[in-house]
């Protein structure tokens, strides 16, 4: 059984403002992620790890291939789905913890974290309660909770972002360097949260540059350099 199945994905960027040059990024990307497993994308910077994550979430279009996600007892191809289906999959099936928080003016940190639950119909007070638990676990000082995170430090913003990504129960979760700006204590908290998601059966696909963290969370490493496009002669 797989929760996420990536099949023969290919991506080339065409830079129209640079005379239409083509930048092949990846080709034939194929791997599966099972429930309760954390697969880490490995390879040097520029190999296409982030691009793969963005294709899986639908932020990047694909030239070929499929991103199959288990939803309602069937496998749905997110790569070819219409925008509404992608939004439904993002609501119910696949979550994403991005590297940087996209702050919304005026919205407090605790509401930023609670929002994914509120839009799923959870009572606001209950959602804020759960948000507070996560922020406390991530050691974000309580005096910051009611402030908009725009002025927070990089590490503080990242913890808000992690809490927001982890508050829902998506069966598939994408992690884009969630520990990049964190100190050792908070890295350990995130490692613990990932372990908990595994026990809950969540399939995770992530990028971790920190070797210690990677060694602790990865069940398997997929080497992205295997998907390097063959340069046409």
């Amino acid at each position: 059984m797989t929760a996420l199945s990536v099949r023969n994905l290919a991506k080339t960027f065409t830079m129209h403002l640079r005379g239409g040059i083509s930048l092949p990024v990846v080709d034939n990307v194929t791997f599966d992620v099972a429930p309760g497993e954390c697969v880490v994308l490995g390879g040097p910077s520029g190999a296409g790890k982030s691009s793969i994550l963005k294709m899986v979430y639908g932020n990047y279009g694909v030239d070929r291939g499929a991103v199959l996600i288990a939803h309602d007892g069937a496998l749905v191809d997110l790569a070819s789905a219409d925008p509404r289906t992608v939004l439904t999959l993002r609501r119910d099936a696949i979550g994403y913890v991005s590297q940087f928080l996209r702050t919304v003016p005026r919205v407090s940190a605790i509401d930023v974290v609670a929002e994914p639950l509120v839009v799923r119909g959870v009572d606001k007070a209950e959602a804020r309660g759960r948000a507070g638990e996560l922020l406390a676990r991530l050691n974000l000082p309580e005096r910051l909770w009611e402030l908009p995170p725009a002025t927070f430090s990089g590490g503080e913003q990242q913890r808000v972002n992690i809490a927001r990504g982890f508050i829902t129960h998506h069966p598939v979760l994408l992690l884009d360097e969630p520990t990049a700006s964190l100190d050792a204590a908070n890295r350990a908290v995130v490692v613990g949260m990932i372990a908990q998601k595994k026990r809950e059966g969540v399939a995770m696909l992530g990028i971790f540059h920190d070797e210690e963290v990677r060694a602790e969370v990865a069940d398997r490493i997929v080497d992205v350099t295997d998907f390097a496009p063959k340069v046409a002669a």
């Binding site: 279009g61 939004l87 919304v104």
Partner: protein, 258 residues
């Protein structure tokens, strides 16, 4: 999100004489969905919005709207009375310049109450209470209810225009550069408010903007227009993160970083 669209637009085309406004526009809008139309001035986005909102007659094509009684009607074939009812109750239109959407010489309360009276509410006390409630929701102090919008700041006027539009519980709201003429700090507040209200009320909205940040924050989907044609469309973050068309790439790369 519901499984049936609210609006189905096919082959919508508008010429001004021999000059093209917009051509061959096709899309469906679902309940709760926010669609952004972006493009530079002259791209046809405002023509499209005015045609969709039945302020302009199209040259060809149709726009089918699912009425509250679940019947599908081509909005260009409605009688004048039916169309007026739609634009006064089930639809809202937020203009870039609040003076175009407000009556500047009647009180704030009357601006909100007027739309309620248009749908037949005659109970003065109840109208005033509803107006007060809406002024609160758009963050206008209750003691300004008897003041004319002439004495309001630009941001307050825009919030009042939004209250006036939303008081009748519309299902579809058209917005033309809703944050256009405002200071950046005021824009942020208005955007946050719009985002909240659209989410809470489950509104469908079509928002014309040249500001990609507004599109990113408010919309689920977007259409990029150039020379009267939709040149690229899709999920908002896909279009902005992975623009395909030369013009879209130019738009996205032209955003100033701060």
């Amino acid at each position: 999100m519901s499984d049936e669209p609210l609006l189905k637009v096919s082959n919508l085309t508008k010429y001004y004489g021999s000059r093209l406004g917009c051509a061959d526009v096709n899309f469906e809008l679902y309940p709760g969905e926010v669609l952004a139309i972006v493009g530079e001035s002259g791209s046809g986005k405002t023509t499209l919005l005015n045609t969709l909102s039945a302020n302009l007659e199209p040259t060809s094509g149709e726009a089918l709207y699912r009425m509250r009684d679940e019947s599908w009607r081509n909005i260009y074939e409605l009688s004048e009375a039916e169309r007026r009812f739609l634009t006064r109750t089930d639809w809202g239109f937020v203009h870039q310049n609040p003076a175009d959407g407000l009556r500047m010489t009647v009180s704030a309360g009357a601006n909100v109450g007027e739309r309620l009276m248009a749908v037949g509410d005659r109970h003065y006390g109840r109208i005033r209470d509803t107006a007060l409630d809406w002024l609160g929701r758009v963050e206008i102090a209750a003691d300004r209810i008897d003041d004319q919008p002439r004495s309001f700041s630009g941001g307050m006027r825009q919030r009042l225009q939004i209250a006036r539009n939303l008081v009748t519980g519309p299902r579809l709201v058209f917005m033309d550069e809703p944050t256009g003429g405002l200071d950046v700090s005021v824009q942020a507040r208005l955007l946050d408010l719009l985002r909240q209200l659209v989410g809470e009320l489950g509104l469908s909205a079509i928002v014309v903007t040249h500001d990609l940040a507004v599109a990113r924050l408010l919309s689920h989907r977007m259409m990029v227009m150039k020379g009267g044609h939709v040149i690229e469309a899709g999920l908002t973050d896909r279009v902005l993160d992975d623009p395909r068309e030369p013009y879209t790439q130019l738009l996205v790369s032209s955003i100033l970083q701060v």
